[in-house]
């Protein structure tokens, strides 16, 4: 077991290096750099910047060096000092800007993951046990619908209903009085009260596909002889289901973290932009628009690393549950 985890951890290293390089190349791609954008903004307000000042600015931010050197400087700063560089736009170290937003993104993603399982598990079991019943058809229909509705559209419709029909504002993660206040117990309660809207929106599409996975797994198990044996022993139908087939069918459930997590993170970015949540999404979009490369790079790097760690966790969990995988 230990060997499996160590080997799996070793595999993370090349992936992480690849991700960090990818993140850096992505933010280098746009033609021009931050100084170009900065000069354009100044020119819009009739302030002219001459060539020397521009070159000076580039030298100060290290933008005049070859790409490989810039990358090495960037990545060694992160690894050795936890220094993600300076955000040009905010004139602040990136690390001061991102951590709270990344933490909120993590909270949002993990709550969504739990909500997805919590909704999909009972419905999946139900529609397998009551196969071809009305409830099963309703569940199947809604899971197809859930797959087809883009999450941002759902967010928009919910915002519309809340604003026009109920007269409420569903955007944001905190009430006004808590937005800038330090963390306290009341603030956490306030967060929980706001969190369920984006969580539900995000959970819909993941739930849809999970219900179908769970249903198929359960259908495979339900006809096996051990279920008949348990029934013949006189176990109640509910105890029987929970004790045997659901436990076996849960196995592939764990492996869904690996593919659910990238989707959740992707979805959460768009939904966060629509609902203007204080998570990574809106700031990532903003930084990409203004080519604030260190900030954007830090976000892309952390988000990708987060999903890689997620798939690692799911692999380890799966190996814990199912010995066949360890031995492969």
């Amino acid at each position: 077991m230990l060997r499996f985890i160590v080997v799996r951890l070793m595999w993370m290293i090349p992936s992480l290096i690849a991700v960090s390089f990818l993140a850096f190349v992505l933010i280098q791609l746009p033609p021009g750099d931050f100084v170009t954008t900065y000069i354009a903004t100044l020119a819009a307000s009739n302030e002219l910047v001459d060539q020397n000042t521009a070159a000076e600015l580039r030298a100060r931010f290290g933008l005049d060096q070859p790409m490989m050197i810039q990358y090495l400087k960037w990545i060694s700063g992160i690894l050795l000092e936890g220094n993600f560089g300076l955000s040009f736009e905010w004139q602040q170290p990136v690390s001061e800007l991102i951590w709270e937003r990344m933490a909120l993104t993590l909270v949002l993603t993990l709550s969504t993951l739990l909500a997805t399982w919590g909704i999909a598990l009972p419905i999946g079991v139900f529609s397998a046990v009551k196969k071809y019943s009305i409830g099963d058809y309703v569940a199947t229909f809604f899971s197809f619908l859930g797959l087809a509705i883009p999450s941002f559209l759902l967010a928009l419709v919910l915002m519309y209903v809340a604003a026009v029909k109920l007269g409420q504002d569903v955007g944001g993660l905190f009430s006004e009085k808590f937005v800038n206040s330090p963390w306290s117990f009341d603030k956490i309660l306030d967060l929980v009260a706001h969190l369920w809207v984006p969580v539900i929106i995000l959970a819909v599409s993941g739930t849809a596909s999970l219900i179908r996975v769970m249903r198929a797994n359960m259908l495979d198990e339900l006809n096996k002889p051990y279920v008949t044996t348990a029934r013949a022993k006189g176990l109640s139908e509910f105890a029987l289901l929970i004790k045997y087939p659901v436990r076996v069918a849960l196995n592939p459930f764990i492996s869904t973290i690996a593919w659910l997590l990238p989707n959740l993170v992707s979805g959460s970015i768009i939904v966060a932009i629509v609902l203007s949540l204080p998570t990574a999404g809106p700031m990532l979009l903003q930084s990409l628009m203004s080519q604030d490369m260190y900030l954007a790079g830090a976000f892309v790097l952390l988000i990708c690393a987060l999903t890689l760690v997620g798939s690692l966790v799911s692999d380890v969990l799966l190996a814990l549950v199912d010995p066949r995988i360890r031995l492969e």
Partner: protein, 375 residues
Amino acid sequence: MSGIEAVATDNKKLAVASQWQLVWWAFKKHQLAMAGLVVVVAFYVIAVVPGFFAVNDPAMQNARAAYYPPQELHFFDKDEAGNWYFRPFIHPYQLRRDPQTLAAIYTEDSTRKVDVRLFGRGYKYSILGLFETDIHLFAVSEPRQPLFLLGADRLGRCVFSRIMQGTQISLSVGLVGVFMSLAIGVVLGGISGYYGGRTDFAIQRAVEFALSLPTIPIWLALAAALPQDWPATTQYFMITVILSLTGWAQLARVVRGRFLSLRTEEFVVAARLDGASEGRIIFRHMLPSFMSHIIASITLAIPAMILAETSLSFLGLGLQPPTISWGVLLREAQNIRSIATAPWLFWPGFAVVVAVMALNFLGDGLRDAADPYNK
């Protein structure tokens, strides 16, 4: 395959049926998939000739029709004797201004009726750039009367006609993007599955890596790198390339799986012993036997592409106006104030949902029908 026996009661017919016939018979039994097929075909017909289905010029702005509400199309009218007869018409709206806020108020004038004609004449449009015509599926008899079936947007542009026009871009992005990722997927997956060993190991790690990355941040970063002032066609092409850069992994995995399982089949071994070349084994013997599977996977990949384009354009990093796609149209619905005044701006979203659902049903049915071991 019990379904096929029901259709083809004659066993001789079943015995000589080609693989495609078998798939078609199994597919026909799947009602949801058949419904999906009908809807998808309808959407692609619209995508080929959007101008024919549109009512107004999708690019035309009309200052006197900002946020014009949707008009109801009446199909039956009563004559003097009180009998109903078929006559499609609309009641025109009258524009007034609120004396205080100057906001537009539209009231229905139910005393007047404007006829709607099938195959009437309207604005000029070209069919696939080949020839021009001005015949539309329906048009109003009085050219000066506006007809907004699904209302108008901020600039008084017809939402219905814009949805029709957007079909062309939105559905073709999916198709082109899928074929690009298929090309990458088939080559890499094919090499991986056919040769196995170290090549397979390396390609599989790359596939796993590509699958474990969240797509949206990468798309956003790539799309943000595109210059905003590129011509529309270049932009369209680049967006599809970006979408297929992340879509290939899933297809590569499917292709590899099929190659691996087929590699040891008797007919492949037989072909090899016969001295057939590798190219001939792959293209003549292996590829046809999982072609139907590939088609099913493609059908299931298109909706994902459509959703991706819609999301990117919605965020303002995908296609840019004046190009019309469903995502671009949904940008109009981005802020709460415009959707509160004009909820009909959600209609492009409805088109997205219907198209994606139909494609999913179609793909699901195809996958079931293409599986020879499916009971």
